[in-house]
């Protein structure tokens, strides 16, 4: 990663707040993202109550205990963080950020800390400390690069994850995420983009006609098929913005004779719970799983979306019966298998431009889906270049951790969050950037636009759609 800080001018633009002063005043909170009005009384006490309740019913305590024992404050994580590398601000050092929450834990939830605090009469959680957490926990893109580099093994992303969870329990969470989630779990349409079912059906029929015209083949989006092999659920925004990705996926299923279905009752894999609240995470998982049970599909398949895939992959087993739960796959795994088995054929003469591949953190960081997409790409794109660093060590698009959905922080995302990524993309000289993730794609499009990079951002199935051969 190039060690280049932003200029003073860029800083001002990146941190420019679009919030009205009176809102900040009313909410007693200096953060750049919008928040719904909440109870502002006695925040520290409510924070501690929420913290205690969470500790009581979850597994976080043992990890926090471990982390406070070993934290060596070596600062090695700092050079890994794309945010800190860009801002150079102390509050963006991963270890500093973690310490904000660890110190609250130490002071209020360990015997030694409580005694010391009582004796010295100090260290009590204050409104200012909550302000700082609310600000800096949402600067982080949850990319988990820092975790990779901590010699003693502190999971800063886990601490930020927990910090956001506690904050959200006292009403501090980005409005953009909360409003979408409310629609998804309690609204009429039941999805984060508020797409009514008739509109969805219209869209899909329209796409089917398109595909018939373009490919001369009947390609369908099967709906509510009982006993299909896969329940397919993409990030719902794909239905609005990533038609080509969906067409590519439908084409792959048609060409390979796969058995799949979309549920009309619930068709959204987005899970913002992963970014701000474990309770929400759980509810979204249960909703998704309910559809797999209703349609009796043995497998769950998530579309091109990193966080949706990771949250389903990790938390379906957690909440739906451990190893007996229905297995979760990402669409790249299916397409890869089909390619290897020879059922999927791609024309290597269609895509001639130079292409590169962006690893979504949620797919690649833990080594889940790394080489498969590369093999698919190399099967039909002859002019392929890697970014550096790449694979498990990739650099985040700059919109991770749910930040991409917060429109009012776009300048932060494209000036600071995506700075290192922009340098990386430029260095490849690629004209097509493949990013198999709804969130990454949105962020990367804004990034190339704001940074003036001449590169088209697409999903992997967008290209597959162009190159697929029907026999």
């Amino acid at each position: 990663m190039r060690n280049s800080q932003i200029t003073e001018q860029e800083r001002q633009k990146a941190f420019e707040s679009k919030k009205k002063a009176e809102v900040v005043e009313r909410q007693h909170l200096h953060v750049r993202y919008h928040i719904e009005d909440m109870d502002v009384s006695d925040r520290p006490k409510r924070f501690l109550t929420a913290f205690a309740a969470i500790l009581r019913h979850t597994n976080y305590r043992f990890a926090l205990e471990h982390f406070i024992r070993i934290s060596a404050k070596c600062g090695r994580c700092a050079v890994q963080c794309p945010i800190y590398t860009a801002t150079g601000d102390v509050c963006d050092i991963p270890c500093y950020r973690s310490e904000l929450l660890l110190s609250v834990y130490r002071r209020h939830f360990t015997l030694g800390g409580m005694l010391k605090g009582r004796l010295l009469g100090s260290g009590y959680l204050t409104d200012e400390m909550i302000d700082e957490m609310a600000d800096t926990f949402w600067n982080c893109t949850a990319c988990r690069r820092c975790t990779m580099e901590c010699p003693v093994g502190i999971d800063h992303a886990l601490i930020t994850h927990l910090g956001r969870f506690i904050l959200s329990e006292i009403g501090i969470a980005p409005r953009a995420l909360v409003v979408s989630t409310r629609e998804q779990l309690e609204g009429k349409t039941g999805n984060t983009s508020a797409i009514p079912l008739p509109a969805l059906i219209d869209t899909l029929e329209f796409l089917e006609e398109d595909m018939k015209e373009e490919k001369g083949v009947d390609i369908k989006f099967p709906m509510d098929v009982q006993n299909a092999e896969y329940l397919f659920t993409p990030a719902v925004s794909d239905f609005l913005m990533e038609a080509e990705t969906l067409m590519g996926i439908a084409a792959v299923f048609t060409a390979t004779g796969g058995s799949w279905t979309i549920s009309t009752e619930y068709f959204d894999a987005i899970n913002y719970g992963l970014f701000y609240n474990d309770r929400i995470l759980e509810r979204v998982i249960l909703k998704l799983y309910g559809q797999a049970e209703r349609l009796n599909t043995p497998k769950i398949l998530i579309g091109e979306c990193g966080h949706a895939s990771r949250s389903a992959k990790q938390y379906v087993p957690v909440h739906c019966g451990g190893k007996d739960a229905k297995p979760v796959f990402n669409i790249l795994e299916y397409t890869y298998d089909m390619l290897k088995s020879g059922k999927l054929k791609l024309d290597p003469s269609v895509i001639t431009e130079r292409v590169t591949y962006h690893d979504p953190c949620n797919l690649a960081r833990l080594g889940w889906i790394v080489d498969k997409p590369r093999e698919i790409i190399k099967a039909f794109c002859k002019n392929y270049v890697e970014m550096t660093p790449t694979k498990e060590e990739n650099i985040c698009c700059g919109g991770g951790g749910g930040i991409v959905s917060i429109d009012e922080v776009r300048s932060y995302r494209t000036i600071i969050g995506g700075k290192a990524k922009a340098d990386q993309i430029r260095a490849t000289g690629a004209k097509i950037l493949i990013a198999p993730c709804a969130n990454c794609k949105k962020q990367l499009r804004e990034l190339v636009e704001d940074q003036g990079i001449d590169c088209e951002v697409v999903g992997l199935h967008d290209l597959i759609y162009k190159a697929i051969i029907f026999e």
Binding site: R56, R69, A72, V79
Partner: protein, 234 residues
């Protein structure tokens, strides 16, 4: 004076050494116990054992990480750790003490090596201390113990070196020896209660990280009930 030295070498050493051993065992047990509990509560027990194990080994013998990033800092830090572990355990004079008092002995460092390694450890701790004090990033992160530890660790090494290599007057020798033992004993006492505890629990970190993301099943309603938020809208 000699009596005091004997006291430090005998009962005080035994006491502080036991404090350290039991302190470390306690922490290890607490840590493992916490992890076992968490594993029991986890809704999904399918852990990535293998990858956690590989990462643990990669950090215990961090060759890969040295070449990858911050080579100078990493190298100094690794040499420092090697010196800290090897010198006190394998120094001839220390092993002889064990032999005369407890009757056990093991392989020892050749005299010259021990000397070089001691000097190297001292140099590394000074370098790390300077690095911490001079870099803005590290300065902001540092607590008191982060500065005190390198100094404290440096003491027994420097005094040990003097005792072994420099000819001083007998009374001076006693003083240096006393400092040597007392500083080591202070280290023993504080070791389990500060960040140096990582010497025993650090190998568990990668497992802790993997396990910590395996939440217990169905916590939504329980937390809501505790916070009296049942039925509340998102």
């Amino acid at each position: 004076m000699q009596e005091f030295i004997d006291f430090c070498r005998g009962p005080l050493f035994r006491l502080t050494f036991l404090v350290m051993i039991f302190g470390l065992i306690r922490i290890l047990i607490l840590d493992i116990w916490g992890a076992v509990e968490a594993y029991r509560n986890a809704g999904d027990k399918n852990l990535a054992w293998k990858s956690a194990f590989i990462k643990t080994i990669q950090w215990l013998f961090p060759v890969k990480h040295v070449v990858a990033r911050r080579p100078v800092y990493s190298l100094i830090s690794i040499l420092f750790h090697i010196g800290l572990i090897v010198v006190p355990i394998f120094l001839l004079a220390h092993v002889q003490l064990w032999k005369t008092s407890v009757g056990i002995a093991w392989w020892t460092l050749p005299y010259d090596w021990a000397n070089y390694l001691t000097l190297l450890t001292i140099a590394c701790s000074v370098a790390l201390l300077l690095g911490r004090a001079l870099s803005k990033t590290s300065r902001t992160l540092s607590r008191k113990q982060d500065y005190l530890w390198p100094i404290l660790l440096l003491l027994p090494f420097a005094t040990g070196y003097i005792c072994a290599n420099v000819t001083v007057s007998p009374s001076m020798y006693q003083l240096v020896m006393l400092t040597h033992m007392l500083s080591a004993e202070v280290i023993f006492i504080f070791l389990p209660f500060t960040k140096i505890a990582h010497c025993v629990v650090m190998p568990l970190s990668q497992f802790v990280m993997t396990l910590a993301w395996k939440f217990p099943a169905r916590i939504d309603k329980k937390i809501a009930a505790t916070l009296k938020k049942e039925g509340q809208s998102v």
